[in-house]
Protein backbone atom coordinates (compact mmCIF):
# COMPACT_ATOMS: atom_id res chain seq x y z
CA UNK A 1 0.00 0.00 0.00
CA UNK A 2 1.13 3.49 -0.78
CA UNK A 3 1.81 5.78 2.15
CA UNK A 4 -0.57 8.33 0.73
CA UNK A 5 -3.47 5.93 0.23
CA UNK A 6 -5.72 8.04 2.40
CA UNK A 7 -4.36 11.53 1.81
CA UNK A 8 -2.87 11.62 -1.65
CA UNK A 9 -4.04 15.18 -2.32
CA UNK A 10 -3.18 16.69 1.07
CA UNK A 11 -0.37 18.79 -0.32
CA UNK A 12 -2.34 20.54 -3.05
CA UNK A 13 -2.26 24.27 -3.61
CA UNK A 14 -5.92 25.20 -4.11
CA UNK A 15 -7.75 27.83 -2.08
CA UNK A 16 -9.25 25.10 0.12
CA UNK A 17 -5.78 23.73 0.83
CA UNK A 18 -4.73 27.25 1.76
CA UNK A 19 -7.41 27.64 4.44
CA UNK A 20 -6.23 27.48 8.04
CA UNK A 21 -6.19 23.93 9.46
CA UNK A 22 -8.12 25.00 12.55
CA UNK A 23 -10.93 26.47 10.45
CA UNK A 24 -11.22 23.27 8.42
CA UNK A 25 -11.11 21.02 11.46
CA UNK A 26 -13.79 23.02 13.30
CA UNK A 27 -16.01 23.17 10.24
CA UNK A 28 -15.67 19.45 9.53
CA UNK A 29 -16.52 18.43 13.04
CA UNK A 30 -19.46 20.81 13.19
CA UNK A 31 -20.69 19.36 9.90
CA UNK A 32 -20.45 15.81 11.24
CA UNK A 33 -22.19 16.73 14.47
CA UNK A 34 -24.96 18.36 12.45
CA UNK A 35 -25.62 15.34 10.26
CA UNK A 36 -25.35 12.95 13.18
CA UNK A 37 -27.76 14.89 15.39
CA UNK A 38 -30.59 15.34 12.90
CA UNK A 39 -33.18 12.64 13.39
CA UNK A 40 -35.39 12.97 10.36
CA UNK A 41 -34.38 14.90 7.32
CA UNK A 42 -35.75 15.08 3.85
CA UNK A 43 -34.33 14.53 0.42
CA UNK A 44 -33.50 18.25 0.05
CA UNK A 45 -31.12 18.09 2.98
CA UNK A 46 -29.11 15.26 1.48
CA UNK A 47 -29.09 17.02 -1.86
CA UNK A 48 -27.70 20.15 -0.20
CA UNK A 49 -25.01 18.15 1.62
CA UNK A 50 -24.10 16.36 -1.58
CA UNK A 51 -23.79 19.70 -3.35
CA UNK A 52 -21.50 20.96 -0.61
CA UNK A 53 -19.30 17.87 -0.93
CA UNK A 54 -19.23 18.19 -4.71
CA UNK A 55 -18.23 21.86 -4.52
CA UNK A 56 -15.41 21.00 -2.11
CA UNK A 57 -14.18 18.21 -4.37
CA UNK A 58 -14.11 20.45 -7.41
CA UNK A 59 -12.53 23.35 -5.56
CA UNK A 60 -9.84 21.11 -4.04
CA UNK A 61 -9.30 19.22 -7.34
CA UNK A 62 -9.91 15.83 -5.76
CA UNK A 63 -11.24 13.29 -8.29
CA UNK A 64 -14.73 11.95 -7.52
CA UNK A 65 -13.58 8.38 -8.15
CA UNK A 66 -10.92 8.82 -5.48
CA UNK A 67 -13.53 9.91 -2.92
CA UNK A 68 -15.85 7.06 -3.89
CA UNK A 69 -13.20 4.34 -3.65
CA UNK A 70 -11.93 5.64 -0.30
CA UNK A 71 -15.39 6.07 1.16
CA UNK A 72 -16.32 2.45 0.45
CA UNK A 73 -14.82 1.61 3.84
CA UNK A 74 -18.07 2.70 5.49
CA UNK A 75 -20.01 -0.15 3.89
CA UNK A 76 -18.98 -3.00 6.19
CA UNK A 77 -19.46 -0.90 9.34
CA UNK A 78 -22.50 1.20 8.49
CA UNK A 79 -23.95 -1.64 6.43
CA UNK A 80 -24.00 -3.95 9.42
CA UNK A 81 -25.76 -1.35 11.57
CA UNK A 82 -28.15 -0.53 8.73
CA UNK A 83 -29.12 -4.20 8.31
CA UNK A 84 -29.87 -4.55 12.00
CA UNK A 85 -31.97 -1.37 11.84
CA UNK A 86 -33.78 -2.70 8.83
CA UNK A 87 -34.64 -6.01 10.46
CA UNK A 88 -35.66 -4.73 13.87
CA UNK A 89 -37.51 -1.45 13.33
CA UNK A 90 -41.29 -1.70 13.30
CA UNK A 91 -43.87 0.71 11.93
CA UNK A 92 -45.31 1.60 8.55
CA UNK A 93 -46.01 -1.08 5.98
CA UNK A 94 -44.63 -4.55 6.72
CA UNK A 95 -43.11 -6.19 3.66
CA UNK A 96 -41.80 -9.39 5.24
CA UNK A 97 -41.53 -10.90 8.69
CA UNK A 98 -40.24 -14.03 10.33
CA UNK A 99 -39.97 -14.56 14.09
CA UNK A 100 -38.60 -11.40 15.73
CA UNK A 101 -37.41 -9.96 12.41
CA UNK A 102 -39.41 -7.86 10.01
CA UNK A 103 -38.71 -5.57 7.10
CA UNK A 104 -40.91 -2.52 7.33
CA UNK A 105 -41.06 0.76 5.47
CA UNK A 106 -39.90 2.60 8.62
CA UNK A 107 -36.97 0.25 8.98
CA UNK A 108 -35.95 0.78 5.37
CA UNK A 109 -36.11 4.55 5.75
CA UNK A 110 -34.05 4.49 8.96
CA UNK A 111 -31.48 2.22 7.39
CA UNK A 112 -31.06 4.42 4.34
CA UNK A 113 -30.72 7.54 6.53
CA UNK A 114 -28.00 5.80 8.50
CA UNK A 115 -26.12 4.78 5.38
CA UNK A 116 -26.40 8.22 3.82
CA UNK A 117 -25.21 9.97 6.97
CA UNK A 118 -22.30 7.63 7.53
CA UNK A 119 -21.20 8.15 3.97
CA UNK A 120 -21.45 11.94 4.31
CA UNK A 121 -19.41 11.90 7.53
CA UNK A 122 -16.68 9.73 6.03
CA UNK A 123 -16.58 11.81 2.86
CA UNK A 124 -16.18 14.94 4.93
CA UNK A 125 -13.23 13.36 6.75
CA UNK A 126 -11.66 12.21 3.49
CA UNK A 127 -11.92 15.73 2.12
CA UNK A 128 -10.43 17.13 5.32
CA UNK A 129 -7.38 14.86 5.25
CA UNK A 130 -6.96 15.47 1.53
CA UNK A 131 -6.92 19.23 1.90
CA UNK A 132 -4.83 19.49 5.08
CA UNK A 133 -1.49 17.80 5.80
CA UNK A 134 -1.91 15.35 8.64
CA UNK A 135 0.61 17.00 10.96
CA UNK A 136 -1.31 20.26 10.66
CA UNK A 137 -4.55 18.52 11.58
CA UNK A 138 -2.82 17.11 14.65
CA UNK A 139 -1.46 20.54 15.47
CA UNK A 140 -4.98 21.97 15.20
CA UNK A 141 -6.23 19.28 17.60
CA UNK A 142 -3.50 20.33 19.95
CA UNK A 143 -4.62 23.97 19.91
CA UNK A 144 -8.13 22.74 20.76
CA UNK A 145 -6.59 21.05 23.82
CA UNK A 146 -7.35 17.52 22.70
CA UNK A 147 -5.61 15.13 25.09
CA UNK A 148 -2.02 14.49 24.04
CA UNK A 149 -2.39 10.71 24.33
CA UNK A 150 -5.24 10.83 21.85
CA UNK A 151 -3.17 12.92 19.47
CA UNK A 152 -0.28 10.51 19.79
CA UNK A 153 -2.61 7.58 19.05
CA UNK A 154 -3.88 9.32 15.94
CA UNK A 155 -0.42 10.07 14.68
CA UNK A 156 0.66 6.48 15.23
CA UNK A 157 -2.41 5.13 13.52
CA UNK A 158 -1.62 7.27 10.52
CA UNK A 159 2.00 6.16 10.40
CA UNK A 160 1.43 2.47 11.01
CA UNK A 161 -1.57 1.76 8.86
CA UNK A 162 0.61 1.20 5.82
CA UNK A 163 2.98 -0.99 7.84
CA UNK A 164 0.14 -3.38 8.61
CA UNK A 165 -0.71 -3.54 4.95
CA UNK A 166 2.88 -4.02 3.79
CA UNK A 167 3.50 -6.69 6.35
CA UNK A 168 0.41 -8.61 5.27
CA UNK A 169 1.51 -8.44 1.63
CA UNK A 170 4.89 -9.79 2.56
CA UNK A 171 3.43 -12.66 4.57
CA UNK A 172 0.98 -13.60 1.83
CA UNK A 173 3.82 -13.70 -0.64
CA UNK A 174 5.84 -15.92 1.68
CA UNK A 175 2.87 -18.23 2.10
CA UNK A 176 2.00 -18.45 -1.58
CA UNK A 177 5.57 -19.41 -2.33
CA UNK A 178 5.14 -22.66 -0.45
CA UNK A 179 1.41 -23.22 -0.63
CA UNK A 180 -0.34 -25.37 -3.22
CA UNK A 181 -3.93 -25.63 -2.03
CA UNK A 182 -5.48 -27.78 0.67
CA UNK A 183 -8.64 -28.72 2.56
CA UNK A 184 -10.88 -25.78 3.55
CA UNK A 185 -10.54 -26.43 7.29
CA UNK A 186 -6.76 -26.41 6.95
CA UNK A 187 -6.91 -23.18 5.00
CA UNK A 188 -9.04 -21.69 7.72
CA UNK A 189 -6.59 -22.66 10.44
CA UNK A 190 -3.76 -21.25 8.40
CA UNK A 191 -5.61 -17.97 7.96
CA UNK A 192 -5.90 -17.81 11.75
CA UNK A 193 -2.15 -18.27 12.16
CA UNK A 194 -1.49 -15.73 9.46
CA UNK A 195 -3.67 -13.06 11.06
CA UNK A 196 -2.28 -13.57 14.55
CA UNK A 197 1.33 -13.47 13.42
CA UNK A 198 0.51 -10.49 11.23
CA UNK A 199 -0.50 -8.50 14.29
CA UNK A 200 2.47 -9.68 16.27
CA UNK A 201 4.89 -8.83 13.48
CA UNK A 202 3.34 -5.44 12.85
CA UNK A 203 3.42 -4.71 16.55
CA UNK A 204 7.12 -5.53 16.71
CA UNK A 205 7.84 -3.46 13.66
CA UNK A 206 6.00 -0.46 15.08
CA UNK A 207 8.16 -0.84 18.14
CA UNK A 208 11.30 -0.66 16.01
CA UNK A 209 9.98 2.26 13.99
CA UNK A 210 9.37 4.05 17.24
CA UNK A 211 13.00 3.40 18.17
CA UNK A 212 14.01 5.00 14.90
CA UNK A 213 11.87 8.05 15.69
CA UNK A 214 13.29 8.32 19.19
CA UNK A 215 16.86 7.98 18.01
CA UNK A 216 16.24 10.99 15.79
CA UNK A 217 15.23 13.24 18.64
CA UNK A 218 11.45 12.74 18.47
CA UNK A 219 9.53 13.50 21.66
CA UNK A 220 5.96 13.41 20.36
CA UNK A 221 5.44 17.14 20.39
CA UNK A 222 5.67 17.87 16.63
CA UNK A 223 7.33 21.09 17.76
CA UNK A 224 8.42 22.00 14.24
CA UNK A 225 4.88 22.17 12.84
CA UNK A 226 3.84 25.78 13.25
CA UNK A 227 0.41 27.18 12.51
CA UNK A 228 0.16 30.81 11.53
CA UNK A 229 -1.59 33.22 13.94
CA UNK A 230 -5.37 33.07 13.84
CA UNK A 231 -6.30 36.09 11.72
CA UNK A 232 -9.50 38.04 11.17
CA UNK A 233 -9.73 36.35 7.76
CA UNK A 234 -9.87 32.98 9.53
CA UNK A 235 -12.66 34.21 11.77
CA UNK A 236 -14.52 35.41 8.70
CA UNK A 237 -14.05 32.03 7.00
CA UNK A 238 -15.39 30.29 10.08
CA UNK A 239 -18.44 32.58 10.11
CA UNK A 240 -19.08 31.77 6.45
CA UNK A 241 -18.67 28.05 7.17
CA UNK A 242 -21.04 28.07 10.11
CA UNK A 243 -23.57 30.12 8.13
CA UNK A 244 -23.54 27.32 5.57
CA UNK A 245 -24.19 24.81 8.32
CA UNK A 246 -27.10 26.89 9.62
CA UNK A 247 -28.56 26.95 6.12
CA UNK A 248 -28.18 23.17 5.97
CA UNK A 249 -29.93 22.81 9.29
CA UNK A 250 -32.69 25.10 8.08
CA UNK A 251 -33.12 22.98 4.93
CA UNK A 252 -33.42 19.89 7.12
CA UNK A 253 -36.49 21.40 8.85
CA UNK A 254 -38.44 21.77 5.61
Amino acid sequence: MHHSYLDKYARGTTAIHGLDARVKVLFSFAFIILIASLRASGFEFYLACLTLIAVCLIAARIPTVYLLTRSIVVIPFAGFAAISYMLTRTGGTTYWHSGPFAITSEGLIDASHLLARSWLAVSCMIILVNTTPFDQILKAFRTFRLHSILIMLLSFFYRYLYLLWDESERMQRARNLRYFGGKPEKQFAMLGHLVSSLFLRTYERTERVQMSMLSRGWDGSAAHVKLKPFTLQNVLNLVIGFSLLIILWWISTW
Binding site: R205, R208, M211, R216, G217, W218
Partner: protein, 236 residues
Protein backbone atom coordinates in the same frame (compact mmCIF):
# COMPACT_ATOMS: atom_id res chain seq x y z
CA UNK B 1 44.31 16.81 29.44
CA UNK B 2 43.59 13.20 28.62
CA UNK B 3 40.55 12.75 26.39
CA UNK B 4 37.63 11.06 28.06
CA UNK B 5 36.00 8.18 26.16
CA UNK B 6 32.99 9.01 23.99
CA UNK B 7 31.40 5.67 24.76
CA UNK B 8 32.13 3.67 27.84
CA UNK B 9 30.36 0.44 28.65
CA UNK B 10 31.14 -1.30 31.94
CA UNK B 11 29.97 -4.83 32.78
CA UNK B 12 27.05 -4.56 30.45
CA UNK B 13 24.43 -7.31 30.77
CA UNK B 14 21.46 -6.83 28.56
CA UNK B 15 18.33 -8.80 27.77
CA UNK B 16 15.42 -8.64 25.33
CA UNK B 17 11.77 -8.30 26.38
CA UNK B 18 11.31 -12.06 26.30
CA UNK B 19 14.26 -12.62 28.64
CA UNK B 20 16.83 -13.69 26.02
CA UNK B 21 20.20 -12.55 27.35
CA UNK B 22 21.90 -10.87 24.41
CA UNK B 23 24.99 -9.44 26.13
CA UNK B 24 26.81 -10.85 29.11
CA UNK B 25 29.37 -8.79 30.98
CA UNK B 26 30.66 -6.66 28.10
CA UNK B 27 33.05 -3.77 28.80
CA UNK B 28 34.82 -1.51 26.31
CA UNK B 29 35.61 2.10 25.50
CA UNK B 30 35.56 4.21 22.37
CA UNK B 31 37.88 7.23 22.27
CA UNK B 32 37.04 10.34 20.22
CA UNK B 33 38.00 9.90 16.58
CA UNK B 34 38.94 6.25 17.09
CA UNK B 35 36.11 4.40 15.39
CA UNK B 36 35.46 0.91 16.65
CA UNK B 37 34.13 -2.13 14.79
CA UNK B 38 31.99 -4.83 16.42
CA UNK B 39 32.40 -8.17 14.70
CA UNK B 40 31.14 -11.65 15.45
CA UNK B 41 29.03 -14.46 13.99
CA UNK B 42 25.25 -14.26 13.49
CA UNK B 43 23.44 -13.98 16.79
CA UNK B 44 26.55 -12.79 18.61
CA UNK B 45 24.74 -9.76 20.02
CA UNK B 46 26.08 -6.99 17.75
CA UNK B 47 22.69 -5.43 16.98
CA UNK B 48 21.66 -5.84 20.59
CA UNK B 49 24.78 -3.97 21.70
CA UNK B 50 23.98 -1.00 19.47
CA UNK B 51 20.30 -0.83 20.45
CA UNK B 52 21.29 -1.13 24.08
CA UNK B 53 23.71 1.80 23.79
CA UNK B 54 20.86 3.88 22.32
CA UNK B 55 18.86 3.15 25.48
CA UNK B 56 16.27 0.85 23.92
CA UNK B 57 16.93 -2.31 25.90
CA UNK B 58 16.91 -3.17 29.57
CA UNK B 59 20.42 -3.52 30.92
CA UNK B 60 22.52 -3.65 34.03
CA UNK B 61 26.04 -2.30 34.30
CA UNK B 62 26.90 1.23 33.27
CA UNK B 63 26.85 3.07 29.97
CA UNK B 64 28.45 6.51 29.70
CA UNK B 65 28.09 8.52 26.52
CA UNK B 66 30.15 11.67 26.09
CA UNK B 67 30.59 11.91 29.85
CA UNK B 68 26.87 11.49 30.58
CA UNK B 69 25.58 8.34 32.27
CA UNK B 70 22.79 6.81 30.20
CA UNK B 71 19.55 7.05 32.18
CA UNK B 72 15.94 7.62 31.23
CA UNK B 73 16.39 11.33 31.94
CA UNK B 74 19.64 11.79 30.04
CA UNK B 75 18.63 9.71 27.04
CA UNK B 76 16.88 12.46 25.01
CA UNK B 77 19.98 14.65 25.39
CA UNK B 78 22.25 11.78 24.39
CA UNK B 79 20.21 11.06 21.26
CA UNK B 80 20.93 14.57 20.05
CA UNK B 81 24.63 13.73 19.71
CA UNK B 82 24.47 10.00 19.04
CA UNK B 83 22.22 8.30 16.53
CA UNK B 84 21.90 4.92 14.88
CA UNK B 85 21.22 3.29 11.53
CA UNK B 86 19.29 0.06 12.02
CA UNK B 87 20.13 -3.25 10.39
CA UNK B 88 16.78 -3.33 8.57
CA UNK B 89 16.16 -0.05 6.70
CA UNK B 90 12.41 -0.70 6.77
CA UNK B 91 12.58 -0.09 10.51
CA UNK B 92 14.24 3.24 9.94
CA UNK B 93 12.07 4.83 7.28
CA UNK B 94 8.48 5.82 7.95
CA UNK B 95 7.65 9.19 6.43
CA UNK B 96 5.62 9.62 3.21
CA UNK B 97 8.57 10.84 1.15
CA UNK B 98 12.31 10.38 1.38
CA UNK B 99 12.93 14.11 1.81
CA UNK B 100 10.47 14.27 4.71
CA UNK B 101 12.09 11.26 6.30
CA UNK B 102 15.53 12.86 6.12
CA UNK B 103 14.06 16.10 7.50
CA UNK B 104 12.45 14.32 10.45
CA UNK B 105 15.53 14.36 12.69
CA UNK B 106 16.69 17.94 11.95
CA UNK B 107 13.11 19.13 12.56
CA UNK B 108 13.18 17.52 15.98
CA UNK B 109 16.46 19.29 16.69
CA UNK B 110 14.52 22.55 16.36
CA UNK B 111 16.31 23.94 13.31
CA UNK B 112 14.64 26.55 11.10
CA UNK B 113 13.00 25.27 7.93
CA UNK B 114 15.76 26.79 5.78
CA UNK B 115 18.45 25.06 7.79
CA UNK B 116 16.52 21.80 7.62
CA UNK B 117 16.12 22.08 3.86
CA UNK B 118 19.79 22.82 3.29
CA UNK B 119 20.83 19.82 5.40
CA UNK B 120 18.40 17.55 3.59
CA UNK B 121 19.61 18.64 0.14
CA UNK B 122 23.23 18.30 1.13
CA UNK B 123 22.89 14.82 2.57
CA UNK B 124 20.73 13.55 -0.30
CA UNK B 125 23.20 14.96 -2.75
CA UNK B 126 26.19 13.35 -1.04
CA UNK B 127 24.51 9.95 -1.07
CA UNK B 128 23.30 10.24 -4.69
CA UNK B 129 19.68 10.21 -3.61
CA UNK B 130 18.53 13.61 -4.85
CA UNK B 131 16.48 12.13 -7.66
CA UNK B 132 14.55 9.96 -5.23
CA UNK B 133 13.69 12.73 -2.78
CA UNK B 134 9.96 12.71 -3.45
CA UNK B 135 9.55 8.95 -3.58
CA UNK B 136 8.00 6.98 -0.70
CA UNK B 137 11.01 5.38 1.03
CA UNK B 138 9.46 1.95 1.44
CA UNK B 139 9.17 1.62 -2.33
CA UNK B 140 12.88 2.02 -3.01
CA UNK B 141 15.25 -0.82 -3.86
CA UNK B 142 16.97 -2.40 -0.90
CA UNK B 143 20.33 -0.76 -1.57
CA UNK B 144 18.62 2.60 -2.04
CA UNK B 145 16.76 2.11 1.22
CA UNK B 146 20.03 1.40 2.95
CA UNK B 147 21.51 4.67 1.71
CA UNK B 148 18.25 6.44 2.58
CA UNK B 149 18.39 5.09 6.13
CA UNK B 150 21.95 6.34 6.41
CA UNK B 151 20.88 9.73 5.08
CA UNK B 152 18.24 10.09 7.82
CA UNK B 153 20.93 9.56 10.45
CA UNK B 154 23.60 11.72 8.82
CA UNK B 155 21.18 14.64 8.59
CA UNK B 156 21.33 14.76 12.39
CA UNK B 157 25.04 15.70 12.20
CA UNK B 158 25.80 13.27 15.00
CA UNK B 159 29.16 13.24 16.75
CA UNK B 160 28.71 9.52 17.41
CA UNK B 161 27.15 7.30 14.77
CA UNK B 162 26.18 3.67 15.35
CA UNK B 163 25.90 1.65 12.13
CA UNK B 164 24.40 -1.83 11.99
CA UNK B 165 25.64 -3.75 8.93
CA UNK B 166 25.94 -0.63 6.75
CA UNK B 167 27.36 -2.46 3.72
CA UNK B 168 24.93 -5.38 3.48
CA UNK B 169 23.32 -5.47 0.00
CA UNK B 170 25.37 -2.62 -1.40
CA UNK B 171 27.06 -2.99 -4.77
CA UNK B 172 30.89 -2.81 -4.62
CA UNK B 173 31.15 0.74 -5.98
CA UNK B 174 28.57 2.07 -3.53
CA UNK B 175 30.35 0.27 -0.73
CA UNK B 176 33.63 1.93 -1.61
CA UNK B 177 32.00 5.35 -1.91
CA UNK B 178 30.32 4.81 1.44
CA UNK B 179 33.61 4.00 3.11
CA UNK B 180 35.19 7.13 1.64
CA UNK B 181 32.25 9.24 2.70
CA UNK B 182 32.21 7.90 6.27
CA UNK B 183 35.96 8.36 6.56
CA UNK B 184 35.51 12.04 5.73
CA UNK B 185 32.90 12.58 8.43
CA UNK B 186 33.57 14.37 11.66
CA UNK B 187 31.82 11.63 13.63
CA UNK B 188 33.20 8.73 15.63
CA UNK B 189 31.72 5.47 14.37
CA UNK B 190 30.70 2.24 16.02
CA UNK B 191 30.12 -0.28 13.25
CA UNK B 192 28.59 -3.73 13.62
CA UNK B 193 29.51 -5.73 10.54
CA UNK B 194 30.80 -8.91 8.93
CA UNK B 195 32.60 -6.90 6.25
CA UNK B 196 36.26 -7.00 7.29
CA UNK B 197 37.45 -4.98 4.29
CA UNK B 198 35.15 -2.20 5.37
CA UNK B 199 36.45 -2.44 8.93
CA UNK B 200 40.01 -2.18 7.68
CA UNK B 201 39.17 1.03 5.84
CA UNK B 202 37.46 2.77 8.76
CA UNK B 203 38.23 1.36 12.21
CA UNK B 204 41.65 1.04 13.85
CA UNK B 205 40.23 -1.16 16.65
CA UNK B 206 37.83 -4.10 16.76
CA UNK B 207 35.92 -5.94 19.42
CA UNK B 208 34.93 -9.52 18.78
CA UNK B 209 31.67 -10.76 20.29
CA UNK B 210 30.43 -14.32 20.42
CA UNK B 211 27.29 -15.59 22.13
CA UNK B 212 26.90 -12.30 23.92
CA UNK B 213 30.40 -12.31 25.40
CA UNK B 214 33.33 -10.12 24.55
CA UNK B 215 36.05 -12.43 23.27
CA UNK B 216 38.76 -9.89 22.60
CA UNK B 217 39.54 -6.29 21.77
CA UNK B 218 42.44 -5.85 19.33
CA UNK B 219 43.93 -3.68 16.60
CA UNK B 220 42.26 -4.38 13.28
CA UNK B 221 45.51 -5.40 11.62
CA UNK B 222 46.17 -8.00 14.35
CA UNK B 223 42.71 -9.48 13.99
CA UNK B 224 43.05 -9.78 10.23
CA UNK B 225 46.30 -11.70 10.58
CA UNK B 226 44.92 -14.11 13.17
CA UNK B 227 43.30 -16.60 10.79
CA UNK B 228 42.70 -19.15 13.52
CA UNK B 229 40.70 -16.69 15.60
CA UNK B 230 38.73 -15.57 12.55
CA UNK B 231 37.90 -19.15 11.63
CA UNK B 232 36.97 -20.02 15.19
CA UNK B 233 34.37 -17.27 15.17
CA UNK B 234 33.05 -17.88 11.67
CA UNK B 235 34.57 -14.71 10.26
CA UNK B 236 36.66 -16.44 7.64
Amino acid sequence: MVDQPLIKAANLVCEHHDGTVALDDVSFEVMPGRSLAVVGPNGAGKSSLLTCLMGFLKYSGEITINGQVLTSTSVPQIRRVMTMVFQDPDDQLFMPTLAEDVAFGPNNLGLSSDQVESRVSKVLDRLNLSELRDRPPHHLSFGEKRRAALATALAMNPSILLLDEPTANLDPATRRELAEYLAGLDATLLIATHDLEFVKALCPRVILLSKGRLITEVDTSCLLQNTALLRNHRLA
